[in-house]
């Protein structure tokens, strides 16, 4: 029961973080321990492992969706682009300084 909860929480955290298919690791353990808990529980105590299994299944679907649908892209970063222009302008001046010293 405790292990299924721990891995269930880790599964949620890994799903939120951009860890791609690495999230399947804690999710898989959550499913395994959730199923074991479900099997060993009495009929009146099966509600909690079922919740864990549902969360793990939902996390799996989200991770799979993210893996298939979200592309690895670099965001347009105007600040970085501006920095590159400035550093190039600076470099030109610095090169002229070096040439002046030769």
């Amino acid at each position: 029961m405790i292990l299924s909860v721990v891995f269930g929480l880790l599964g949620i955290a890994f799903t939120i973080l951009p860890l791609d298919t690495l999230a399947f690791l804690p999710i898989g353990f959550a499913l395994v321990f959730g199923l074991l808990t479900l099997k060993q529980s009495q009929d009146s105590q099966k509600k909690f492992p079922k919740i864990i299994l549902t969360i793990a299944a939902l996390c799996s679907a989200v991770v799979l969706g993210k893996t298939l649908l979200v592309k690895d892209e670099v965001a347009t970063d105007t600040q970085f682009e501006q920095q590159k222009i400035e550093t190039k302008q600076e470099a030109k001046k610095e090169l002229e300084e070096i040439e002046g010293l030769e």
């Binding site: 860890l19 670099v74 920095q83 470099a91």
Partner: protein
């Protein structure tokens, strides 16, 4: 050249960033230089957690790839560092500015064939490996962390690897060894250069103090 940068997390390679290497000609009133640029940007999905924007640049003589100016600007999760190395003959004047620390300057001498890390990569591409025997080494010198350090390149034979839009390519496999804390392990820092005239870096594997990773070529154009 565009690469996908992956980092080893608990045994699984996770795609983290895009590395773009490009060249262009830059002219001053006196000279023309080849501007070698290497940019690293984390994928947008990582930006909210750990944003990296690094630029490594080298301005070299187009004829012999001898560097005149090397610049490094890193922004890794808010930690910033800027470095500038001005090469004048056998002397390097370096300037370093770390986040929340005063700027430091240093002057040191180098050998006639010493490169910076970026121009070294392009210099390596000019070496004729076709006559190299397995295990044969090539010694080089680089400036890194405000000092000159020796680098040994060891030819490990040929291997066929995936080279992005170029398809599968036969490559020269080389091991990079350097006396620096920045690289870890023996034969854990490797580079595969296509075994043709262009010697395009198709795959790079690295082992650094914070882990291991690799750069895989996704696209190479205009080479």
């Amino acid at each position: 050249m565009v690469y996908a940068g992956s980092y080893n997390m608990s045994g699984l390679m996770t795609q983290l960033a895009q590395v773009t290497m490009s060249t262009e000609t830059v002219s001053t009133s006196k000279n023309a230089y080849l501007h070698l640029s290497c940019e690293l940007s984390t994928y947008s999905k990582w930006d909210s957690f750990f944003k990296i924007r690094d630029i490594y640049e080298s301005y070299v003589n187009p004829a012999n790839l001898k560097p005149s100016l090397y610049k490094r600007s890193i922004d890794e999760g808010g930690y910033t560092k800027k470095e500038k190395y001005a090469f004048k003959g056998n002397t390097v004047n370096s300037t370093t500015k770390r986040k929340n620390k005063p700027e430091t300057q240093k002057k040191f001498t180098i050998g006639a064939s010493t490169q910076d890390v970026i121009s070294l990569l392009y210099k390596v591409r000019t070496i004729d490996f076709s006559k190299f025997k397995v295990g044969q080494t090539q010694n080089l010198m680089i400036v890194f962390d405000e000092k000159q350090i020796p680098v040994t390149l060891r030819f490990m034979g040929k291997e066929t690897v995936n080279a992005g839009n170029l398809g599968k390519k036969e490559c020269y496999k080389l091991s990079i060894g350097a006396k620096t804390d920045a690289l870890r392990g023996k034969d854990k820092n490797l580079i595969w250069l296509t075994a043709d005239a262009k010697k395009i870096p198709a795959l790079l594997k690295f082992s650094i103090p914070v882990g291991t990773g690799q750069l895989t070529l996704t696209s190479a154009t205009g080479i």
